[in-house]
Amino acid sequence: MEEIPKEKLLWMYETMVKIREHEERVAELFAQGKIPGFVHLYIGEEAVATGVMAHLRKEDFITSTHRGHGHFIAKGGNIKASMAELFGKATGICKGKGGSMHIADLDVGELGANGIVGGGIPHAVGAALGIKLNGLDNVAVAFFGDGASNQQNFHEAINLAAIWKLPVVFVCENNLYQISLPYSRQQVIKSVAERAAAYGIPGVSVDGQDVFAVYEVAKEAIERARKGEGPTLIEAKTYRFRGQFEGDPQVYRSKEEVEWWKQNKDPIVLFERTVLEKGLLSKDELDEVREKVKKEIEEAIKFAEESPWPKPEEVLEDVFSTPTKGELVWQW
């Protein structure tokens, strides 16, 4: 393992803890009825977004999924505005029009969570095409789940990226369940990464609970992309500690199985163990990060709670960019 600068280690820890804290608080707020709609939490998968995003710049693009809070936070999205969005408030990053499944922050290259499984994968390819044709050295990263790897968009988008040698990295977060269907009953191959062979690109499978392993694999893939050497498919084997969505009765897996993952494969615990054992970071430094993150999340919640609701007339706004003559937003 290469030496990771201390500043980067602290960023990785802060990002994972921030995602965890954010998601735990969101679960509570959802249970209290303060956050409406559907909520899909990223708890347990923090190392994937963090290990990948450690290599991205603000100008790089990502596309996300319905389980998108972690990607958003790791890419540097505005957390106050996203929390307000989860509440459906006017100050939300999407003005209360998107919610959890459509969180986006174009200012940091976050092209959006997506309510359609696999829907965002071609968008990353499109951003990568834009990068290439504009002669930039940025990259685009598509995040998606194991379920999405059976969708046409996965296959079509990867093939396009391969034939056009685009600067894009495909990151499959294989959390072992497509809602209720186990991975072993969705596909017969051992790893989603094997599918890379069908498109003539490198494919690699990595322990998604080990942020250092994800970091290593992502580094190589992103460097390849930046150098114009084309796309890579990464499968990060991971596990969601909570249900598919909040309120999921989880009849398809045992409590023991979930407990085992929490006890043995918690990415934050694994990180702490490594950095403390190796003396890379001190206990005080870790505690300090946790305190800071807690404060930041509480401030975001306070901001969201105190923010006003959108005004009724805003229903009709933001459908189109370019004004025209004639009726654009039709109402009887």
Partner: protein, 327 residues
Amino acid sequence: MAVVREITFAEALNEALDYEMSKDPKVVVMGEDVGRYGGIFGVTKGLIEKYGEERVRDTPIAESGFIGTGVGAAASGLLRPVVELMFIDFLGVAYDQIYNQAAKMRYMFGGKAKIPVVIRTVSGAGASAAAQHSQSLHALFIHVPGLKVVYPSTPYDAKGLLISSIEDDDPVIFIEHKMLYGIKGPVPEEPYSIPLGEADVKKEGKDVTVVATALMVHRALEVANKLEEEGISVEVIDPRSLVPLDEETILNSIKKTGRLVVVDEAYPRCSFATDIAALAVNKAFDSLKAPVKLVTAPATPVPFSPALEKEWMPSTEKIEKTIRDVL
């Protein structure tokens, strides 16, 4: 002094693409056989020679993938793609990228995204192309908020509207009727734009208003010219863009004539035709002197045999009979 030539509908579209590509390096063309082949109807002919393979991209047959790529490229702010969906009938394999992704991004993201993508596609019967290559599915796009829908009838309109569509920051579905590619009409050599949302009164009249789109505009005009000899004055309106819709021109005409016939080469229910009928009843009821009548295809798939297809399409005979019915 403007030079106006007689050129075909396909050539007019080609000039619009050529102009936009010459003007803005962000404009790229993508689709099946749009490169060396020049598009199966010849619309993208010569572009790859002029602008190269990077900007004129032949794609695999993977409509969802390449339309989604166009949408993502547009959302990234780095490109203004013009993507070709070879036949509108192929919409089914790519619809999600259009109606759930392109159409909704700006709204879902609170007005922050611009999605400057044009999806050019081919519709219409008349070529014995049967049920999966002949449909008129514009209603499926009109129905979904967030898409602009353009459906021109003349070479002149085609060029000006395609230029406006490419310069527009919203997703535009630009529909081309396959039986119109070969028709000729006067088109200025230099670029010009026609604003979306402006209907064109193709023929003025005072007895009855006919609203028609694309190929049906030509059939309506043929009937109007014939009836003129009998002293029946038919006003023919081509909305040109279906979203946005120039309600004002349509309603003013209905208020003038008191009668409305809508001619739409599409399935009859939940259609553009029923939409215009509802508009008339809702906003010009007091002006109507007769029931609103619709001339559309029947609710069947498009048949193959020329004998059957001719019967399926709204004919000049049906249009004429319907106009006489409301007089």
